[in-house]
């Protein structure tokens, strides 16, 4: 596949459940970003990886949010003990170093916490 893919596309979780959201970046892209987009709002930065190193996690809203990219390719965003305020679309984006930093976005995972 040529683009960024994310799975699942939709996730419904009961409050208190743990969820894991997956991102497959474009092959060879060094940088990977996670964003959270509330309904009708602009995306907000969560965290950033360069290869397997998590260089910036300043946007993670609480210690219930955890992201990893152990082999520098696929990334997983995990949310523990989900709360209603976690309901949002979670976007993943990847970029190479060489093209001026254009970020290519995946289709997102829509998380609904009931």
């Amino acid at each position: 596949g040529a683009g960024v893919s994310q799975s699942p596309r939709y996730k419904v979780a009961k409050r208190g459940q743990d969820v894991a959201l997956r991102c497959d970046p474009i092959s060879g892209h060094v940088s990977l970003f996670w964003y959270q987009q509330a309904l009708g709002q602009g995306p907000e930065f969560l965290t950033y990886f360069q290869n397997e190193a998590q260089l910036d996690k300043s946007g993670l809203p609480s210690d219930r949010f955890f992201a990893e990219r152990p082999e520098g390719s696929v990334s997983t965003l995990k949310i523990q003990r989900t709360q209603q305020e976690d309901s949002a679309v979670y976007l993943c984006a990847s970029s190479s170093i060489w093209d001026g930093g254009e970020q290519y976005f995946g289709p997102g995972t829509r998380l609904t916490v009931t």
Binding site: G42, P43, Y48, L91, G106
Partner: protein, 113 residues
């Protein structure tokens, strides 16, 4: 901290007409990138146009062009010959090299036939 402001929550344009979406940003940096992204309903975000701050020439991509005023920290998007397929949410975004994107709140563009 960098901020991006889009003051127009919604805009409408007649098919084949021209529309301009506004964006202002705040930064103390001198070297950065600015972007306009398009997000159609329930579809994924795609890049419309990009501007490097060190370039004085305004970027152009077919029917899309920007008016970049660095001193005023303004970065507006002009869409010429609007088409029905241009209807979407448009986001202005700021990025320092290698770093995260900071997005505005978005502008919904409606295209009337």
């Amino acid at each position: 901290a960098q901020t991006v402001t889009q003051s127009q929550p919604e805009m409408s344009v007649q098919e084949a007409e021209t529309v301009t979406l506004s964006c202002t940003y705040d930064t103390s940096e001198s070297d950065y990138y600015l972007f306009w992204y398009k997000q159609p309903p329930s579809r994924q975000m795609i890049l419309v146009i990009r501007q490097e701050a060190y370039k004085q020439q305004n970027a152009t991509e077919n029917r899309f062009s920007v008016n970049f005023q660095k001193a005023a920290k303004s970065f507006s998007l002009k869409i010429s010959d609007s088409q029905l397929g241009d209807a979407a949410m448009y986001f202005c975004a700021y990025k320092m090299d290698g770093n995260k994107l900071v997005f505005g709140a978005g502008t919904i563009l409606r295209v009337k036939s």
